[in-house]
Every structure is written in structure tokens, then in C-alpha cells.
Symmetry: C2
Subunit: 448 residues, 2 copies
């Protein structure tokens, strides 16, 4: 009898799983239910569409619905919302414009993603106030900028979405105010990165309002101001980017357990507490490679990788979904900033480590070679074992060097081992001691 | 009694050792003998001086003799050639313009470097024929180009020196012919890199003559042609860059053993067969991190690192010099090409592995993000263990991603472990699956 693999959610995790399962076992029935119309799209590219660096919203689609259906033979049903899962009967209830239907499954993947958090602000419903978490919203922002030509933007939240949107709207000629409740932007990147990024944002003309809480938006119909504790600042457009929360309602209602982060708990194969139900992508937890504990870092690579692994597992080739290091990279105007592992010393202590860290700045190229940039590198290690725990980099070039740090901490390397890595040197690409090596050398000295 | 650390050779390895020893033990007598006048200079920067990208030859000097003497308190003696070592008496014989002297040592570091190989060509002594291995030679080339304005250059050797000089002379308006005896340029980088680089060199107007042996140069006084098997091609300047050989005469005469590569054999602390004599830098072997065997890859980072470690060791803090991965990176006009580990399958087999390799090409950025470049990645792994053995990358950006591969193979990672590394993704920096991950994914599939 043909087995059926049902996937709820048609973005990175879901479509990776469906494609891989169908490729590895063409006889299997693979059905994907997606409540919207967009599938397999690059949410991370939306700010660049608003900016004008990407011409068409369709360019952000990696694989079209037609390609999934025709080339990959996946039974993809868009406009189809799964509203209930019965784990006893192994069926899902699906609502479409045509009515409600039951679909049995042998294996189920919950890949329901995450949604932009909507804070309890007044005026969230005003025209010109946006979150940015799906393609239609990106389209609406772009159109709003084009049609209304806003002069001043209020961006709420100094995370990567806020910073990317600051760049996008500045490029569109909008005067950007960025509001962040915390003392610094890019909180997960640590203060060394924040200091460099904040200076650069100001240089680029962004009005940074740190430690500033927004309470709402004002305007008739259309937004014309942002409300702070004791003043209202003009704003013709507002973007709220204060984080995302995993979409767990469907899973929870079906008795699927959530983990300590509030996302769906999974084992190393992406399996939930129900042996026929998997979860992956922005709705699910993953294991952190440094702490070995569950974590929730909703990013594209994690979703793609876990989806693909689950596609293999359900077709009979058990494949771990892999661990995460919380690696992230963001462009902030002319800067690149990146982080990996455990950067926050408080969090390192909670995980049982005794963190020691250093921050150094060094050129990305030989001192005499033209166009080098200063790269600021922070590395964090455990005092006793010397094990590398995390790191950050920020600069006008070289942010991808974070991958060296990620690879090192994934392999449980000590700082001394990293210091001795034979990294590539030639004057146009690095000083003799790459900035990562210099940071490791200084940190190793501090650990002695 | 004050102990004396004597260093022979004042470039990367020697000066790193001297500086570190003096810093860690200011009471120690540290004497460096350098036969020339230049110390601590970046030989790797010389092509960029010829190109005109670096204004002054002095810019290539990292630390000046005065800084070594005054700030670092190193007894640096330039114009002082060590002509003999007596390991029984623990003395070196030094010749200067003022005569010959004996200097006792407690520890000795042989850091005599390497010299450009001079093939048995006729006409090597003609004016306008150069090797490029010291600062005076770089100066002479630059001056020759400026004074004589050569129209056509013959570069002999398609290694990184040859390719860097091709770029440098092209930038100076010289029509470059590059002669390589082997079927491809950049032999240690493998054919996948060579194919991309060769196309690019031709696009840039370089006349590539592969599998073409040069037998000599012709001209009265000044060179005006290069002699091939059955023709003479015009050349107003010639650069011979066919590799370097370690300067081992001094060590050999003193009874210091050479290793299988012909360079000075050393242990993990850089010690030779004589317990008071160390060797480091371009004259010495180092241990390859993949094979565990001695290798000779004369590059700057290896020299700096080994020198520094030996400086620590002689002052009572035994420090391994670190292993090498044979990592190298080279700029070829607009391309960056890099390699690490064991790339050649024949060599992998000699080292006891069963090599499997893949080559993939992928964009350095998200497919929709502007200005991405194609990066060609080759990875090599051992079939049975899955252990990563080596890799190469080439493209218009992203060549430093080789460091991820280097770090992975230094940590004995398998291809599957690398495939699961949580590398950084955002559209301006990478596709969701970094090209390195894509290559690992494809190679892992091939290993199954």
C-alpha cells in the first residue's frame, strides 16, 4: 500500500521535505497543504525588494508551485489550511474554498512557520503600519512607498529586520527613525557589534532612538505619527519588526508538546512526542551545538536542512536534522555583521561555562594593500577547557569569516586549536594573521 | 648566567621568534644575524609594488630594524652573514664588512628562508631577466619597467608568483606571455581551479602557453626574446617564477638533518636533530594536518607562527609550532583562487586514503541578490571514513571561504559534519546553502 506523507506549510522546511521525500521514494504520496498562495519563497529577500535591489517579488521564489507539481511531482495544494490534526486517527482536517476535507497520513510534518509578533500597540490597524513577514506584506510596503512617497519612517525594533528595513527605506529616500527598547541594536550580536553598527547607522543618516519604547501609532485612517512615552514623532510609514513567534496552535491543539522555548519540541530526527509527527522550520526547536540544549532560532538554513533530513527519514533513511549554532549575518548599509554560538556571557554561565572573551580590530587585508577594512572580532571561550563558545564579526568586508568560527565551535575546537588553523593568507585577502587568528591568539593568551 | 638565543635570518620566522623570546624573557640575550639589509618584509606584497598598488617598497616592511632594536630590544645585526655553525661548541661564525667573528649560543634558530629556483636557462644573466624573491629584485623590476617601458613580458612559471606578476605587468601596460611546462597553471590547486583561472587569464589578455618549455633567453646585454623548443618569442622583460628551494646549506654543513622534502627536518616544537638547534620558516619542514607527514609549504603564516612558538619554547614555555594544511590563496586579476589540504587524488592515495571528490558551482549570494559571483568549489574526502581531506575554491568573490574547509579538515571533520555546519546566510552574503555546504552535500551523497 502506498504510504502518505502530509506536510503542513509550503515554505522552506515543508517544501524541502516534500521534494526530498518524493525524490527518494517516487511511489510515496506526498501532499503539501499551504494556506496561502506563495510557496518556497525567500522571506529574507523581502527588504531588498522594498529597497529596489530586487526587481520582482516573484524573483524571491526559489521554486514555483508549477515546478513542484510538474517537475517534482509533489501534490501541492495552495489555499488549503489545515485546521485540525487527529493523531489517533492519523488524519488532518483541511479547509479550502470548496469546503472541508479529511486527509489521512502515515507521516506528518508540521512546518507552520512563525509570525511577526504584534505588540499591544494602539493604531496597529492604521494604513501605513506594517509588519514584514510575508510576501503580500512586502508587496504592500513597496506599493505604499511608491504611491504615498512617505517622508519619514518609524521602524520599531533594532533587530535584523529593523536594520534591513532601515537600509531599504533610506535607499527609497525616506528619512528613517529607528526605535529600540533595549540599550543597543542587534542584541544577540553583543555590544562590540552594536557599537560599530550604531555608529554606522548614524553616519548613514538613521535617527537612532535607543532605550525608547513605542506605545502606538496615531493618525486618521493613515498613520502620521509614532507615540513615545512623552511625545509623538511624525511618521508617514511605520514598520514593526520586534521578532517572530512560532506558529504552534495547530500542533498544541493536537497534543504535540512544545519545548522550553515555546516552539515545538523535537528529537534529533525532527520527530515530536508523536512518533508519526515531525516538526521543522520556524515553528520548531533545534538542538544548539554548544549547549546541547533545545533552542529556537528561526532561520532559513535550519528550516531547509531539517526539512530535507525529514524527507529522507520518512522514506526510510533516518537522517539527523543537524544542530544549530545560532549563526546569523546581517547587512547594515555598508557593514556586514555576524554572530555564532554563545556570545552573551550570562547565557554562557547559565549553560555551565566560565566565559572569557576578547574583542580585537584588525584589517581584512595586508596593511599595505588597498581597500582593506577594519574587522572587529569578538571570541568567547570557556576558561577551563579552552573550548570556543561563540563569536561575532563586523566590518565593511569579511563578515562571512564568521563561518570559520562556526566550523570551529561545531567541531568542539579549543581557542588554541583555532589559533593554529592554517587559514589562507595573501595580501589582497588577509593579513598574515587573519583577524580571526589574531582574536584567537589574544584570547588564548588571556586563558593561560 | 644570561642565556643567548641566536637567530639566523631576519624575516618572518626569525623576527617573530626573536621578538617573542625577548618579550617573554627580557633578560635573555637575543641576537639576530641577517645577511642583507631588509628585515621583516612582506615578500608576498612585492607583485603589488610592481603593479603600482603599493606606493613604496618600505610599505611592505612590517617592523623596521630601528623598531626591533629600540622598541623590542632585539640585538639585530644586518649585513651579517652566518657562514658556519659548530653544534659541538655551540657557536656560529659570522662575517660582516668588518671581518669574521664567533658568537656562542644556547639556543639557535635557523631561519634562512628559501631562494627562487634558477633553472638551467641560457641568458639568465641578461639585463631584464628577473626572479622575484627579495626586495631588491622587486625594486629592480619596478625600475626596469619604469625606465625601459617593455612592450612584451615573458613570465616563466604559472604558479602564484607567475600569475601575480602577470597581473602586475598587465596593469603596467605590458603585453604578457605566460609559459607553463605543465598542462595547467596553479598545479597545487587542481584542474577545476585551473580551468577557471586559465579562461580568466585569457579574457584579461594574457597569452597562455601551456605545456611549453622555455630553454633560455636571448639578447645582447638586454633580453629581447624567450627561447622555446622551436621558436623565439619577443620579450622585453622576463620573470622567472618556477618555485623556491629551501636554503639548507648552512644547516647541512653543520650536520643538521634534512627531511624527505629536502627542507630541514623538525619535530612538533620546530627542533632539529640537534636539541639546541631549531629551524622555522621557508627553510624548514612542518607537519601536514591531514597526513601527519612532514611537508614543505613555504608560506608566511607558517613562518610567523613557528617563529613565535619557538620564541616561547626557548624561553621555557614549550609551544608546538602547529601543523599546516598547505592552505594557499592567490589573486588572479579579478579572481580569487584558494586551496587547502590534500587536493590531488594521487597524493591522497599515497597517504593511504581512498579519495572521492566533487566539483560544484554556485552563487556567492542569493540568486536574486545583485552582484553575486559564481564560486566553483571542489571537496575531496576519504571514501571509507568520510573524512574531509582537502578542497579548492575559485571565483570573483568568496575565495576566503576556503578557511571553512581548512578549519573543518583541521578538526578531522567528516563531509557530513561539514554539511551540517550552521554557516551564515543572508541574501547579500550567501545562498541559503553556502556553496561550501552544497559541495559537502553533493559529496556526502556520493559517499553513501
Amino acid at each position: 500500500m502506498t504510504e502518505t506523507f502530509v506536510v503542513v506549510g509550503g515554505d522552506a522546511a515543508g517544501m524541502s521535505a516534500a521534494s526530498k521525500a518524493k525524490r527518494d521514494d517516487p511511489d510515496r504520496e506526498v501532499i503539501v497543504f499551504e494556506k496561502g498562495e506563495w510557496v518556497s519563497y525567500a522571506a529574507c529577500g523581502m527588504p531588498y525588494y522594498v529597497k529596489g535591489a530586487v526587481d520582482e517579488l516573484d524573483d524571491l521564489v526559489t521554486v514555483t508551485p508549477e515546478e513542484f507539481r510538474e517537475e517534482r511531482d509533489v501534490d501541492l495544494r495552495t489555499g488549503a489550511e489545515v485546521v485540525d490534526v487527529d493523531t489517533e486517527l492519523q488524519t488532518v482536517t483541511v479547509e479550502t474554498d470548496d469546503g472541508t476535507d479529511e486527509q489521512p497520513y502515515d507521516d506528518l510534518l508540521v512546518a507552520t512557520g512563525a509570525s511577526a509578533i504584534e505588540p499591544p500597540f494602539e493604531g496597529l490597524g492604521l494604513e501605513g503600519v506594517f509588519t514584514i513577514h510575508d510576501m503580500d506584506e512586502a508587496d504592500a510596503i513597496e506599493e505604499y512607498v511608491t504611491v504615498h512617497g512617505p517622508e519619514t519612517a518609524a521602524i520599531v525594533g533594532g533587530g535584523y529586520v529593523g536594520i534591513e528595513m532601515a537600509e531599504a527605506l533610506s535607499a527609497r529616500g525616506v528619512d528613517v527613525h529607528l526605535y529600540e527598547m533595549l540599550p543597543h541594536v542587534l542584541q544577540p550580536f553583543g555590544e562590540a557589534v552594536a557599537a560599530v553598527v550604531e555608529d554606522h547607522l548614524r553616519e548613514q543618516g538613521v535617527d537612532l532612538h535607543l532605550e525608547t519604547a513605542v506605545s502606538g501609532f496615531v493618525g486618521d485612517e493613515r498613520v502620521d505619527g509614532v507615540e513615545l512615552e512623552d511625545e509623538v514623532v511624525a511618521a508617514d510609514i511605520a514598520i514593526v519588526g520586534v521578532g517572530v513567534a512560532p506558529n504552534t496552535d495547530l500542533a498544541e491543539a493536537a497534543g504535540i508538546e512544545l519545548g522550553p522555548t515555546g516552539a515545538v519540541a523535537t528529537d534529533e530526527y525532527g520527530r515530536t512526542n508523536d512518533e508519526n509527527v515531525y516538526a521543522a522550520g520556524d515553528c520548531a526547536e533545534a538542538t544548539h551545538v554548544v549547549t546541547g540544549e533545545p533552542d529556537h532560532v528561526p532561520l532559513a538554513l535550519t528550516a531547509n536542512r531539517a526539512g530535507r533530513a525529514i524527507g529522507q527519514t520518512v522514506t526510510g533513511d533516518p537522517t539527523p536534522v543537524g544542530e544549530i549554532a545560532g549563526t546569523a549575518i546581517v547587512k547594515a548599509f555598508d557593514l556586514g555583521a555576524a554572530r555564532t554560538g554563545i556570545v552573551d556571557e550570562e547565557r554562557a554561565r547559565e549553560a555551565g561555562f566560565d566565559p572569557v572573551s576578547v574583542t580585537i580590530s584588525a584589517s581584512t587585508r595586508a596593511h599595505y594593500y588597498p581597500d582593506g577594512a577594519e574587522l572587529t572580532v569578538t571570541l568567547v571561550a570557556d576558561r577551563e577547557s579552552g573550548r570556543l563558545l561563540g563569536g561575532t564579526v563586523v566590518g565593511r568586508e569579511g563578515a562571512k569569516r564568521i563561518d570559520t568560527v562556526t566550523t570551529a565551535l561545531t567541531a568542539d575546537m579549543t581557542v588554541t586549536e583555532l589559533q593554529n588553523a592554517d587559514l589562507a593568507y595573501a595580501p589582497p585577502f588577509s593579513p598574515v594573521w587573519d583577524p580571526i587568528l589574531t582574536a584567537a591568539k589574544v584570547l588564548a593568551g588571556k586563558l593561560e
